[in-house]
Symmetry: D2
Subunit: 145 residues, 4 copies
């Protein structure tokens, strides 16, 4: 089975990621590129992109790339911690994000995510720690017992 | 002018907070209570509440309470860093959040936020650092120049 | 075998903890109390207690308490992340520290540490995540092979 | 007055930095290189370099470089938060550290520090936020009033 690419993942985007408008541009086990178009629905009351949007993008990018990479070895990925620093507000245009893997351990992966505005200024940074754990054994349906 | 209460703030809720469904229950300059009802729109692909939802709630609760408190002294509040640890997934019911101020400095306030599920188990924790800065001087309209 | 108490641990204190002067006062699997007496050797150039001292105390307190607790089940403990916020400088007296466990998971424990001065003002806070892993299998001595 | 270089700063190294053995190799307002030679005095009980040593190095490197840079404009620098992730233990040789400034704001600077072992493997990373504040006005001696 081929590893899903960004088009397939975007096509299947649902839940919270679809709600705030995550768009994946490129995904591998070392780098992820994604973006969110700024609109009122992603802003806080003063008209800036809400801090939670950066944290959400980082969470999804790092979790997804790790999950795709470890799936072949019957493992799953789950956010352990998300630490975001806000450096400069974004008020319009596009929130650009680039996640880089900085550690691939047996039980944790660590990613750095850089967020930039349309002038390529660094606006926020996130450090994401992702736990890698064995996939839960599949549950058999009751009739099969 | 009276400090706005949770009803007034909920009534005016807009942008990202309205999108993911933040409901404020109580707000003061030392404690904030809020919640989000779990539904598919706040979940990640495995059916758990998305990590970004916790980060977003913490960001809004701490920023809002600080902003309301410092507004009288002509200052504004803005998230500086948001550090969230994920301890136990929530899949249904309500995400309950309680923010407690642990530091009130001249230029930064620090809040701890605890997230719990309907059984009151701690599911995530956030440490929020909020910058307190002078309000920008009001801009005169062009005709007044 | 009885769990070691603070006197036994202090007596065996070596390495970095001995260098900067960690004194354990009480230790259990949910709470640890410790202190460091302020002296020039723990200060930075401006005469304040060095930020690294708080981080070091938190690291040792959380790691040690977790390690003692999981040793019986043949597991070991190791710091995964240490996030310290500095709220108010300490320049003299004693750095008092109280670590509280806020999560006991299968693979990670999370502790909050509060640092205070002689007037019991909160001066720094640390969130420590400790990884719990199986102990490496004991190595047999060469003669036993 | 010339900006002090690493030799001058090392010569004046005192307090905690001298205690654990910080050696500055190069310092500018965008990059700092430093190291600590591994010895028993910087280890934790299991023989690994103590997590607090990484946090301490990052704290000093970022604070010092920021302080030197803002001194000319009558400002001072002070650690606001230190967030360190531990990726791979170091047990011998030298702890190599490289701090890179990722943000220079009016009131905060943010630095990323990468720690590596003698094989240049990433062993820990720190994100340091440094507050930049006006220098306290010099106090006149009582007789001068």
């Amino acid at each position: 089975m081929a590893t899903p690419g960004p088009e397939q993942i975007n096509h299947a985007m649902a839940g919270f990621d679809a709600l705030y408008g995550l768009e994946l541009l490129d995904i591998s086990d070392t780098d992820v590129y994604a973006q969110v178009t700024v609109r009122d629905q992603v802003k806080q009351p003063m008209g800036l992109v809400h801090g939670g949007v950066y944290a959400s993008m980082a969470e999804s990018m790092a979790s997804l790339a790790t999950a795709v990479a470890v799936h072949a070895q019957a493992e799953t990925a789950m956010g352990l911690s998300n630490s975001t620093s806000f450096l400069r507000p974004i008020t319009r245009g596009v929130v650009h994000a680039h996640a880089t893997r900085i550690h691939r351990g047996r039980t944790t992966w660590v990613w750095d995510v850089r967020f930039s505005d349309d002038e390529d200024r660094t606006c926020a940074v996130t450090r994401m720690t992702i736990a890698v754990r064995p996939l839960p054994a599949p549950q058999k349906p009751p009739s099969a017992r």
